[in-house]
């Protein structure tokens, strides 16, 4: 066990020496990984924030129930009772037509005489806040309310949210495909860099083999180099994402008057950043292992 660890520690330091001795191309490699990973990560970040935003809006969305003008108080009470008993309903707010008319007049700064309107054109209405996002329950509730006596019209305000959610789902799937493609590109780029490094160290590999080095001994520093690239790349991605979020939030701040502070971009959670680092490191290991082991096999002993 101790020998095994010592072998890895030796390989670790040999890899550090190689990365250091070749620092310009190492930095470029790390930047390439970081920026490439940043593309799907930024998309994912935006979708995550948009999803959060949509769930927030949906939570505050209402079902608007407009009643017949000739509805009786008993019917109104029955509808209220039916709504309050529904497990999907969080809050029921009844707005009498008189109050609605007053609000409208105040908002439009008119009165009925100025407008030439002899009677209140608005109906009584219920505004129902739901405690569920399940579209089946919402649809079922919608159908139940629609058939109640005295109900003229029911409007679900969250229809557009369904479309948004579907769109976000599609974008997420697209980002997953993009991420997979970019991961393949990164594997090739890292692999090619490592292959070039094996050629740079060709003589060292040949001599090491002649004096008894195993292939795993020769391979290990290259794998550690791949690990350094992966970890370095993930740090670059994390840094870039933090800057991007800061920029987005500054832009969103300018629209605070419109959205009322609704749009605040939040960073990825630590667990997602850990996943990102592990993913980048795994890419580095895979690419360096396959590329270096293949390249080392093809290097023949010198005469």
């Amino acid at each position: 066990m101790f020998h095994y660890l010592r072998n890895h520690i030796q390989a670790f330091f040999r890899a550090i020496i190689r990365v250091k001795s070749n620092w310009p191309s190492s930095i470029i490699m790390i930047l390439v990984i970081g920026i490439t990973l940043c593309l799907p990560a930024t998309g994912f970040l935006l979708v995550e924030n948009a999803s959060k935003l949509s769930s927030k809006i949906e939570y505050e969305a209402e079902i608007s129930i407009f009643l017949n003008k000739s509805i009786s108080q008993d019917q109104i009470d029955f509808i209220r009772s039916a709504l309050e008993q529904s497990p999907a309903v969080k809050k029921v707010n009844f707005e009498p037509k008189i109050k609605a008319w007053e609000k409208l007049q105040e908002k439009l700064k008119i009165n009925s005489l100025d407008a030439g309107i002899s009677e209140n054109p608005l109906p009584d209405a219920f505004f129902v806040t739901l405690n569920t996002l399940d579209s089946n329950i919402v649809d079922s509730l919608y159908n139940d309310i629609k058939v109640l006596e005295g109900v003229k019209e029911v409007i679900i305000d969250s229809g557009w949210l369904k479309k948004l959610r579907s769109l976000l789902y599609l974008i997420k799937a697209g980002l997953l495909v993009l991420g997979a493609l970019l991961a393949m590109v990164l594997t090739v780029v890292i692999g090619n860099t490592i292959r070039l490094q094996t050629l740079t160290h060709q003589k060292e590999i040949e001599v090491s083999r002649l004096i008894g080095a195993t292939d795993s001994f020769i391979l290990r520093p290259f794998i550690y180099t791949g690990i350094f690239y992966g970890i370095g790349g993930s740090f670059v991605t994390i840094g870039l994402l933090t800057i991007i979020i800061e920029l987005f939030n500054r832009i969103a701040f300018k629209f605070e008057s419109i959205f009322g502070g609704l749009i605040i971009f939040s960073n990825l959670t630590p667990s997602k950043y850990i996943f990102l680092a592990i993913f980048a490191t795994a890419l580095g290991i895979l690419a360096s292992y396959f590329s270096a082991s293949r390249s080392i096999r093809t290097i023949k002993n010198i005469d």
Binding site: K203, L210, A213, T214
Partner: protein
């Protein structure tokens, strides 16, 4: 220790480089593999050191038939040999110390031991004061001595040198040969390829190769 039984070595599409080679080398012997250029000396040394494998025949090392060994075991076998190549095969991007330390790093030696043994090996070949220099700054003779230091640092049972004095003048060549003799004196088996056997102060065995065949396996006692 090492036994060749009717060994042939060739490559596809070419005539066999070595044909029907049989000999035996005992532990602690000094052996010269001699012959003109192209006789197959280097190939024979590669077969002895398990860098190449024979086309036919068997090579026995310490009662172990090398053809029975798995590919993965070959590196461990090679660690038993100290190899000195004609062109030295030094790494010019590493210091003298780092070059000599390479076999020890491969052999999983602690850094304290590496430091001690590398300095001892450099001291043995008279290069201790040049440990921090790059090999490119050394003369041909010094580079050869550095290669010897790298070969002896892991205390191998067998030293194999491929024309170690070919490019050196007589003064340096004598220095190098005296180093090999000193190792043979302490029980190390020394196998050296050369165009001709030198005047040796100690008893040695000579394998003379001509066109890939062993012409004159013989014991030679000279001087003393």
């Amino acid at each position: 220790m090492i036994k060749f039984n009717s060994v042939f070595k060739g490559y596809p599409g070419t005539k066999d480089i070595l044909q029907n080679i049989s000999f035996e080398i005992d532990s602690g012997e000094l052996v010269f593999v001699t012959g003109s250029s192209g006789a197959g000396k280097s190939t024979l040394l590669k077969l002895i050191s398990a860098i190449e494998s024979p086309s036919a025949g068997e090579i026995i090392f310490d009662n172990q038939n090398l053809s029975d060994l798995r590919t993965g075991d070959m590196p461990y076998l090679r660690r038993k040999f100290g190899m000195i190549f004609q062109d030295h095969k030094l790494l010019f991007d590493r210091t003298c110390f780092e070059n000599v330390a390479l076999p020890l790093a491969i052999n999983d030696t602690t850094s304290v031991d590496i430091s001690r043994r590398v300095r001892a090996a450099l001291n043995k070949v008279g290069l201790l004061e040049k440990e921090k220099l790059m090999p490119i700054t050394l003369s041909g003779g010094e580079q050869q001595r550095l290669a010897i230091a790298r070969a002896i640092v892991s205390r191998p049972a067998i030293l194999i040198a491929d024309e170690p004095t070919a490019n050196l003048d007589k003064k340096y060549a004598d220095e190098i040969m005296s180093i090999f003799y000193s190792f043979q004196q302490v029980g190390v088996t020394v196998i050296i390829s050369s165009h001709e056997a030198p005047q040796s102060p100690i008893q040695f065995k000579e394998f003379y190769l001509m066109h890939g065949e062993l012409v004159k396996p013989q014991d030679v006692s000279l001087l003393t």
